[in-house]
C-alpha cells in the first residue's frame, strides 16, 4: 500500500526559497549569467536557427519511427558486443541494474550524471539493497552528501552557496571549517572522488545520444567523470531513455553543436565520448533502454514534442519563474518549463500547479535548441487540467463567473459599474486581506469615472 502524501502546490513549495534573504535574487542572477553565455554562443554561430530546425526535424523523425530505430539500435549494439536490456518502467530499470551488479557480486559503483536514474530513483533503490553508490559529478556529489536532489538538470547544486558546500565538505570530506574557496573545495572533491573511482567495481553513466545506425552512444561531460568511471571498471552500464535515440551518426554533428552552447554557453563540452561496444574481450557493456511513460507520451499529439528534449536546461536558465523560485519548488525530477510539461504527463493530480508556474512569456520556446513549443504546451496543460476537473474551487468558481460575465452584456455592464463605484468607497483592508491572494503584491487600479461604452456612446454617435 502506498502512502498518499499531501499535495503541495508550486507557490507554497517556492515560499521558503523566495523568502530566504537574498537567495532568490542571487539565484536569478547566477542563472541569468548562464543564459547570457548561451546567447553569446548562439549569436556567434551564423546558422544557429538552421541547426535548431534540423535538430527539431531529426527528433520529429526519430520519435515518429522510434520502434524501428530502437530495433536497429539494439541489433547494431548487440553486434558490437553490448548487451541491450529493455525496461518498461522505473522499477524494472532498477531491477535490471541490480541484477547486473549481483551477477558480478559488486557492492561499489561509481555513477556519472544521469537524470534518467534520478527519475527512476536508482540511488535509493541500490542503497536499500546494500550497494554503495557514489555520484561522481561534483554538483551531484554535493547534493548526494546533503541528501538532497539536483535542483537543475545540468547544474545540480546551483541552489547552494559556496559556504554551504564548504560546510558539507567539512562534515563529510574533512575540509577546513569555514573554507569556501571553490578551487580549494573542488580540489578536495577531486582527491575524495579519485579514491572512489579507483575502488569502483562498476561504472554507471547516462546517455546523451544513442545512435541507431551504429549501435553506439555519446556521453558529454566537462569534468571527465563519466569517462573515468567508464574506463576503469570492467563493467559499464549505460542507462538511456528511449527518446535519447538519433537515427544517424552524422546527426551528432547537429546535436553536439547545440547541446553545450544551449546548456552552459560553451562551444562544446570538454569531453564528448563515443562508446561503441565493450572496451575489450574482458569487459562488459550493458545498455538499459527505459520507457517509463515515454511511449505513452508519444501517443499524445499535443505533448509529443516534449520527447525531443535533449536535457540542456536552457529553458530553466531563462525562465523568470524558475530563476526566482529554485528547482526544488517544482518537486519533480525535472524542474523548469520542460519539467512542468513532462511531470503532469506522469501524474496530473500531483503536478497540477506546475503549468501555472509560468508567465507565458515564451522565452523557453525561444531558446529551446530542438524547438519544443514549451509555453504553448504549458497553456495546453492548463486547459487539460481544467478539463480533468483539477482546478481549485476558487479558480473554478471565478472562471465560471467570468464566463457568465463575458457572455451577458447587461451583467457585464452592471459588474463594471459595481467595480467602478465600489472601488471608490471601499477601504484598503476590504480588498487587501489574506483571502485575496491576488493582492499580496498588487494594487488595484484607480477606478475610471465612466466605462468605455459610456464614453463611446457620448462621443461617437
Amino acid at each position: 500500500m502506498s502512502v498518499t502524501l499531501p499535495i503541495i502546490d508550486h507557490p507554497t513549495a517556492a515560499k521558503p526559497f523566495v523568502t530566504n534573504g537574498d537567495r532568490s535574487p542571487w539565484h536569478d542572477k547566477a542563472l541569468w549569467f548562464v543564459r547570457g553565455k548561451r546567447d553569446k554562443q548562439a549569436s556567434t554561430v551564423g546558422e544557429w536557427e538552421y541547426l535548431r530546425s534540423m535538430a527539431s526535424q531529426i527528433k520529429t523523425a526519430t520519435i515518429a519511427n522510434l520502434g524501428n530505430y530502437l530495433v536497429e539500435f539494439e541489433r547494431n549494439a548487440t553486434a558490437l558486443g553490448a548487451t541491450v536490456h529493455w525496461a518498461a518502467d522505473a522499477e524494472e530499470h532498477n531491477q535490471i541494474v541490480l541484477q547486473i551488479l549481483r551477477d558480478h557480486d559488486t557492492k561499489r559503483i561509481v555513477k556519472s550524471k544521469s537524470m534518467l536514474t534520478e527519475e527512476c530513483g536508482l540511488n535509493h533503490f541500490l542503497e536499500d539493497n546494500g550497494v554503495d553508490v557514489v555520484d561522481t559529478d561534483l554538483g551531484e556529489r554535493i547534493v548526494q552528501l546533503r541528501d538532497e536532489t539536483p535542483s537543475h538538470i545540468v547544474l545540480p547544486a546551483i541552489h547552494l552557496k559556496k559556504e554551504e558546500v564548504g560546510e558539507t565538505f567539512h562534515e563529510h570530506l574533512g575540509t577546513d571549517k569555514g573554507a569556501a574557496d571553490p578551487k580549494y573545495l573542488a580540489e578536495a572533491a577531486r582527491g575524495h572522488l579519485r579514491s572512489k573511482f579507483l575502488a569502483g567495481e562498476v561504472g554507471i553513466t547516462g546517455v546523451n545520444f544513442g545512435i541507431a545506425e551504429t549501435g553506439g552512444f555519446v556521453v558529454c561531460t566537462n569534468e571527465g567523470n563519466a569517462d573515468l568511471g567508464a574506463s576503469l571498471p570492467r563493467v559499464h552500464i549505460a542507462c538511456m531513455g528511449i527518446e535519447k535515440l538519433i537515427p544517424r551518426f552524422q546527426d551528432l554533428g547537429v546535436f553536439t553543436r547545440l547541446l553545450a552552447r544551449s546548456a552552459t554557453g560553451q562551444p562544446i563540452t570538454a569531453y564528448t565520448s563515443h562508446f561503441h561496444g565493450p572496451r575489450d574481450r574482458n569487459s562488459e557493456l550493458h545498455i538499459v533502454l527505459v520507457d517509463n511513460g515515454r511511449s505513452k507520451l508519444r501517443h499524445n499529439s499535443e505533448f509529443r514534442e516534449a520527447l525531443h528534449c535533449i536535457r540542456c536546461g536552457a529553458c530553466m536558465n531563462t525562465c523568470p519563474v524558475y530563476r526566482r523560485s529554485g528547482g526544488h519548488s517544482y518537486q519533480a525530477t525535472i524542474p523548469g518549463p520542460i519539467g512542468s510539461v513532462l511531470s503532469p504527463t506522469r501524474d496530473s493530480i500531483k503536478h497540477k500547479s506546475l503549468p501555472y508556474a509560468c508567465s507565458l512569456c515564451g522565452s523557453c520556446t525561444d531558446v529551446c535548441p530542438v524547438k519544443i513549443p514549451l509555453h504553448h504546451q504549458l497553456l495546453a496543460w492548463r486547459k487539460e487540467i481544467g478539463k480533468q476537473g483539477l482546478l481549485s474551487y476558487d479558480k473554478r468558481i471565478s472562471m465560471k463567473a467570468a464566463s457568465l460575465l463575458f457572455r451577458n452584456a447587461k451583467v457585464f455592464s452592471l459588474a463594471g459599474w459595481l467595480g467602478r463605484t465600489s472601488l471608490r468607497f471601499l477601504p484598503h483592508w476590504a480588498t487587501h486581506h489574506r483571502f485575496n491572494t491576488w493582492t499580496i503584491a498588487r494594487e488595484l487600479p484607480e477606478p475610471p469615472k465612466e466605462s468605455f461604452r459610456h464614453w463611446y456612446a457620448k462621443n461617437r454617435k
Binding site: 547566477a30 549569467f33 554561430v45 546558422e47 534540423m54 526535424q57 520529429t60 515518429a64 520502434g67 530495433v71 529493455w86 525496461a87 518498461a88 524494472e92 531491477q95 561534483l138 554538483g139 547544474l155 545540480p156 547544486a157 559556496k162 558546500v165 571553490p182 578551487k183 573542488a186 577531486r190 572522488l193 579519485r194 579507483l198 566537462n222 569534468e223 571527465g224 567523470n225 569517462d227 573515468l228 574506463s231 576503469l232 537515427p247 544517424r248 551518426f249 552524422q250 551528432l252 554533428g253 547537429v254 553536439t256 560553451q266 562551444p267 562544446i268 570538454a270 569531453y271 564528448t272 565520448s273 563515443h274 562508446f275 561503441h276 565493450p278 572496451r279 520507457d291 511511449s295 508519444r298
Partner: protein, 208 residues
Amino acid sequence: MKEMLQQNESITKSRRAILDRLMVMDISSPGLPTPDESMLTHFDDPLGAFVAMLESVGGAVHMLDNPHEATDILNQIDVFASAERVVSLVPEAVQSSFDVSQIKDPHDLSAVDWTIAKGEFAVAENGAIWIDGQAMPHRALLFIAQYLAIVVSRREIVHHMHQAYARIGTPKSPFGVFVSGPSKTADIEQSLVLGAHGCRALQVFLTP
C-alpha cells in the same frame, strides 16, 4: 538458472510491450535533413580559429616545426620537469618514462603524471581534438593522468562538427573522444575551476 530464465522472459516481455506501444501508432515523419554545406560556418583561417577557440576553453597551444620540440617546451613547465611518470603515445615528440605495455589493469595507471596522446584531427569551431581509442593502450590514460598533452597536425583541421563526423565516417573502435580544453567544473557557485576529475591542464602541440 531458473531466476535468470525468468528475468530473460520478463525482459523479452517488456521489449515486446514497448515495441508494441510504439508500433501501434503510425506517425507521419518529415524525413531526415542533410545539412547544406553552403549554410554552415566557414572560417577563412581555420587554424587561427582553432587556436583562439582552444585558448578560450583553457587549453595552451604551441606551434612546432618538429615534433621533438615538444619535449623542450614541456621541460620548461615545472610540473613536467618534476614529473616521475610520463606515458607518451607519440614517441617522436616525447619519451615515455616507463613501458606502459607492461600494464594490464588500468587501475595501475593511477599515479601517471602526464599522458602525451595523439590527436587525429582538430575542429576549428570549438577547439576540440578527436582522439581514437584504438591509438591508446588504455583509454583511461586520457582521464587519469594529472596532465594531458595532445600532438596533432595543423594540416588536419576541419571547420565544424558536421565535417568532423563525416571524417570519422563509421566509427571503427569501441572508444573515441573529442577533447576540448582541460577538465573543468563550475558546480560551486558557477566559479570555473580547471582540473575536475580529468587533466588539470591541457597542452596542445600543432605539428606541421
